[in-house]
Subunit: 272 residues, 3 copies
């Protein structure tokens, strides 16, 4: 995992984010923490210009609203034309018609290198892609040791269908293309008490993808390990009386201080 | 106050927030800190769907703009139809025509369980409700021991007129329906040096209301005590050189660690 | 520098901010930290009312979008009519057509007391102002000891042309009108690893300008020294394992605790 991280620090990619206003500040600070640079821009007149000067684009549909949707499509298509990395974080797909339909339309009209979400969001995309319900989509709502085999089959199948890398994050994280799946066991459950650790990971992952164009699957997995390792390291630093707000700061701090050796030491994954 | 808090932790309600972009991240983290879950959504096409899957709705008019106003009305009415808790935080009512008129229109068209603001915002609603100026509205601009009796009469009268619970926060906090008023003396003046402690309280209070449907007045008061107690506990943890940014983090941390016994110990209130 | 800071703490000015949603929370907390009060409002129907009750207006074009542009012009013109301080932070001018054109149009239609940005943004405004390329605009992309003399000439020339104070921040900071330039050597390079230290400075500077109407050049320079000194003090407090997120908090904390003597001690500047 070392080389993926070192490439980010060395190349310092510029990442364009069209993201929600809840977690946007943390996304920016995480991207800076890993040694990359964030730019945020969402207007349809602004986003295509901004994406052109960046190396990658992170589209996140949290707090989705009709003002910013056109910018997502225009910037996504522009990034595609330029051969830039594009990532989709389908926050809340399945929770509302607007989010579900927008996520599915984005997937049809923009080519994504990675789609990263929780299992529920990812399953929504599976059905939204027009398939009838297949056996492998009967995957449980949580990826656990018991449901792991079915979950791996499901993400590989969806990766094949959408021709993209799928990253499902939860207690066990899966990062897969159609052939190969990283099964990652990093992070801590307390990360769920912080708003936006998923959004932060999507921003971080986009930086890893831009800096490692020759192995995007490995880069995406390395980003997941980095975020999880930071969650573990930050937890070790927690003092009595600390809570989710301090934990948030310490996770970003841990990413700031992460080097290749530390990541190598903490990364806990297998490939199936 | 113990049981109200424990109900939040046990039921982990989902709270829909239509709120300003200044303090939204802290609102989300406070709701997570108390053991509930936040969702933010403001678009008129998205907000009614999102509110339907939640237990309560927190409408906050900070950074009010015409893009999000329709979503406030649609989500508010939808939440009313579904019997969900709805809270209004009329940030800046009285400071601009748009905010004053929107707050008053929301109160006319949406049924609120609680309206929570500072005394100036709450007085604006009193006049906006169409009443001519009465004696009890001559309440001072600060609730102090000297003005307490008049302030209590005023909030009870407004609670009766608007048929809702009124929560006025300041040096002394008042939470009242038409018959009964909690007079709460928790918190610290330094909380005013942090942006959005009021917004955070509104999010927190919505979680308390959803988890305690049989005693909303007590639940609202318990939320005020929780926020104030967290402000006191966090202050005890301040180190030399710390300031308002660290204080913000420590208040959220203190909410994360708050249990029924601690709340009981710190809660400082009387009922009049 | 002492008196400028003490005037802010004594007068506690109200600062209206039309700013981006990435760093807005930090801007609010920095303004509170220095003892002033922030209000955020961006809607064309709301912003002119809000600016009327404030002492100064800070316009920042980060995450620029067409929804908030009309409010920038209306509030800017209203603030001009009322004789309020107005500051422009042209975030990303030069990076997109929308940002460049909007920044230049703002400068034509609103009278700014200060324009504060990095050298690249400021150079964009120079060319956008319609001048053909002159010798002094051949200033390097970084202000260093080698390029200092040319940079000082450039900012004075631009200050004369735009009839405003120009504040260029970077490794060496320059704050100039047509005749006089503060050359400031405060701060740390690690401040670049935090999102929005520039935005924070713009908010802070607006508070200094409002509180020191008789010497705006000195007030702007004092704000730069305050931010830089806070960056130095905060860095001294960093512990092993701390990173950019904790550094962010500690800088705001240092501003909260800054007094005139401390600022005097840390301020490192000359006037040329």
């Amino acid at each position: 995992m070392k080389k993926y991280l070192e490439n980010v620090r060395e190349k310092s990619p510029l990442v364009h984010n069209i993201t929600n206003y809840v977690t946007v500040n943390d996304v920016a600070n995480v991207i800076l923490a890993i040694g990359a640079s964030p730019i945020m821009s969402d207007d349809e007149e602004d986003a295509p210009d901004i994406t052109a000067i960046c190396g990658g684009l992170n589209i996140n549909i949290g707090t989705l609203n009709k003002r910013t949707i056109p910018g997502m499509f225009l910037a996504g298509k522009r990034a595609n034309e330029l051969g830039h990395v594009v990532l989709l974080d389908p926050v809340g797909a399945g929770a509302s018609k607007l989010r579900t339909e927008t996520a599915n339309k984005l997937i049809r009209e923009v080519r994504f290198d990675v789609v990263r979400g929780n299992i529920s969001e990812i399953k929504t995309l599976y059905y939204g892609s027009g398939s009838t319900k297949g056996v492998d989509a009967d995957v449980a709502d949580k990826v656990t040791d018991d449901s792991l085999e079915a979950a791996v089959r499901f993400v590989k199948e969806l990766a094949a269908k959408l021709d993209t890398i799928i990253a499902v994050t939860g207690a066990i994280d899966l990062v897969a293309d159609k052939d190969k799946c990283y099964v990652i066991r990093n992070g801590r459950p307390e990360m769920g008490s912080i708003t936006g650790t998923g959004c932060q990971l999507s921003g971080l992952m986009t930086a890893f993808l831009v800096a490692n164009p020759d192995d995007k699957l490995g880069a995406a997995a390395a980003a997941v390990c980095t975020m999880g390792a930071a969650g573990e390291i930050a937890w070790e630093r927690m003092q009595p009386g600390d809570g989710n707000s301090t934990y948030r700061n310490r996770i970003i701090d841990a990413i700031y201080n992460m080097d290749g050796e530390t990541l190598e030491k903490y990364a806990n994954y297998s490939i199936v």
